[in-house]
């Protein structure tokens, strides 16, 4: 308690780093499944959920809003899975459809809400750009709990997850409950994304899932170390970005993190290509 009051930025920093850890972990899975834009889709799909949660409960408590976002985020993922099985459309087209339509519905609801006498502009800004600087101690507990849960689940099913992603049919013939594991992975991803929205906001969520995974892929040859690298890069990017935004007072945290992460990824790409070329 005392620590938090002495160093006002310690809590947000820890929070952001935990989010970095989680997005680095699940971003790697998304990268390997070639579904990296899922982060962007889910992030946009949470808007109607957040607004509806607000409309129903009239409260701006973060857990309430996040639950609403979680529900619509999961609906979005389920809808994409359903449509990809029963229509001829490509995955990225489905992503585009779900992303924009859910967001459009969210907009309609939002403009509906804005007519109500309660100020909702703050809600919107939080959603769009994240509010890392206002993370509090209780948020930290939630993040810590989430990190533990996610880490335990991933460690338990580690080999099964890799198998399912690498060769789905073969995994089925081994008797692995493929559908269940895919659902578990989706639920974890959506939960992490909804939580991460809090730090960096909607638009920048896809970057946190993509950039660390891209960086990690260049640095290693095995999946296991790729995960560790991705988590480390993500944590570093989040910490650096947060520090930049603390030092330069007007720079928003989310934007700073994304810039650091992307520059890191791009730099690694170029560096590794040069090194490979030199060899």
């Amino acid at each position: 308690m005392i620590l938090a009051s002495w160093y006002p930025f310690l809590v947000p920093l820890c929070g952001v780093m935990l989010i970095g850890l989680l997005t680095g972990l699940l971003g790697t899975f998304a990268f390997l499944k070639k579904q990296t834009m899922l982060g962007d889709v889910v992030a946009h799909a949470t808007l109607p959920g957040i607004v509806m949660a607000f409309m129903i409960t009239q409260s701006v408590h973060s857990l309430v809003l996040m639950t609403g976002g979680l529900v619509t985020g999961l609906c979005a993922v389920l809808l994409i899975t359903f449509l990809s099985r029963y229509t001829v459309l490509h995955t990225d087209t489905l992503f585009g459809i779900v992303l924009s339509v859910f967001f459009g519905i969210g907009l309609v609801l939002l403009t509906q809400v804005q007519k109500m006498p309660i100020a909702s502009q703050a809600v919107l800004n939080k959603f769009l750009f994240g509010s890392a600087a206002t993370l509090v101690y209780s948020d930290l507990y939630v993040l810590l709990l989430l990190t533990i849960v996610v880490s335990v689940i991933v460690a338990m099913f580690w080999r099964a997850f890799i198998l399912v992603i690498f060769d789905t049919d073969y995994a089925r013939t081994l008797g692995i409950p493929v559908t269940m594991l895919q659902i578990v992975l989706h639920v974890l991803t959506v939960t992490v994304i909804v939580t991460g929205l809090y730090a960096v906001g909607v638009v920048l969520m896809s970057s946190l899932l993509v950039a660390p995974a891209v960086t990690a892929r260049q640095l290693t040859r095995s999946v296991t170390s790729m995960i560790w690298y991705a988590m480390s890069c993500s944590i570093v990017a989040c910490a650096l970005g947060m520090s930049v935004s603390i030092v330069f007072a007007h720079v928003p945290t989310g934007a700073a993190i994304v810039v650091v992460a992307t520059v890191g990824a791009f730099g690694t790409l170029i560096l590794c290509r040069e090194l490979k070329g030199a060899v």
Binding site: F166, D167, D169, T173, V223
Partner: protein
């Protein structure tokens, strides 16, 4: 002498949407043989495999592998899928791919034992890929990739082996090696099903043949069916076989 037959199929009918993939197939295959499944493109060969593996549910008909239904038989079967089904840029080594075959379905922090590692090494040396154990799969040629897939199935140590087009786009060395491995397995009592599009090459290794073209053209021991397999006019032979049915 085994009491159970490796495969008993009765009235198997599968439809993809509104098109028939398999139409009223009935056959019996004994254990310990190498059985080739041949037929032109779109004949339903891969579909047939997928029903055996339990990946597709048929519209009608029953299928039993060693007396068990496909859902229960997965513990007896090792599958070698087509090479195209996988992303070869995945960051994983040859050894780790073959190790996947040792996954025993445990849910709690599935561990890799020393025995697993030995089995994997043995499987790799059977297919002559032990020296590539630490290479990334993306660095391999087509034939080498196929051998890795085969090693993965061998590591499972099952009594039924199913290969989907293993000879597609592989070099002659790999082809010979795979045929040698299959014959070895057959001596040890393993039943093998191989989908192969080359009607001539199957005579080199297959004991039994299943000839499919949505319907069953014929199924039986290779030596009894020889005369139908390499006719001077294959298309005419197909028509005859079709008409005779």
């Amino acid at each position: 002498m085994n009491q159970l037959n490796a495969l008993i199929v009765r009235h198997l009918t599968v439809m993809y949407g509104a098109t028939p993939a398999l139409d009223d197939i009935s056959l019996t295959i004994p254990t310990g043989v190498i059985c080739a499944i041949i037929g032109p493109n779109g004949a339903g060969k891969s579909t047939f495999l997928k029903v055996i593996l339990g990946l597709i549910k048929p519209l009608a008909g029953t299928l039993h592998i060693l007396g068990l239904s496909p859902a229960d038989a997965h513990t007896l079967i090792a599958y070698v899928p087509q090479r195209m089904s996988v992303d070869w840029n995945f960051p994983i080594s040859v050894f780790d791919v073959v190790m996947m075959g040792r996954y025993n379905g445990g849910w709690f922090f599935n561990r890799i034992t020393a025995q697993d590692k030995d089995i994997v090494s043995d499987a790799l040396s059977m297919v002559d890929m032990l020296s590539y154990a630490n290479s990334l799969i993306g660095e391999l040629s087509g034939g080498q990739q196929q051998r890795v897939f085969l090693a993965r199935a061998l590591a499972q140590k099952r009594t039924v082996l199913i290969l989907d087009e293993p000879f597609n786009g592989v070099d002659a060395t790999t082809e010979q090696l795979v045929m040698k491995v299959l014959k070895q397995l057959s001596k040890n009592g393993v039943t093998t099903f191989v989908v192969h599009h080359d009607m001539v090459a199957v005579r080199g290794y297959a004991d039994w043949i299943i000839q499919l073209q949505t319907q069953l053209i014929q199924a039986g021991p290779a030596n009894l069916l020889d005369s139908h397999l390499n006719p001077p006019f294959p298309y005419r032979a197909y028509c005859h076989a079709y008409a005779e049915k």
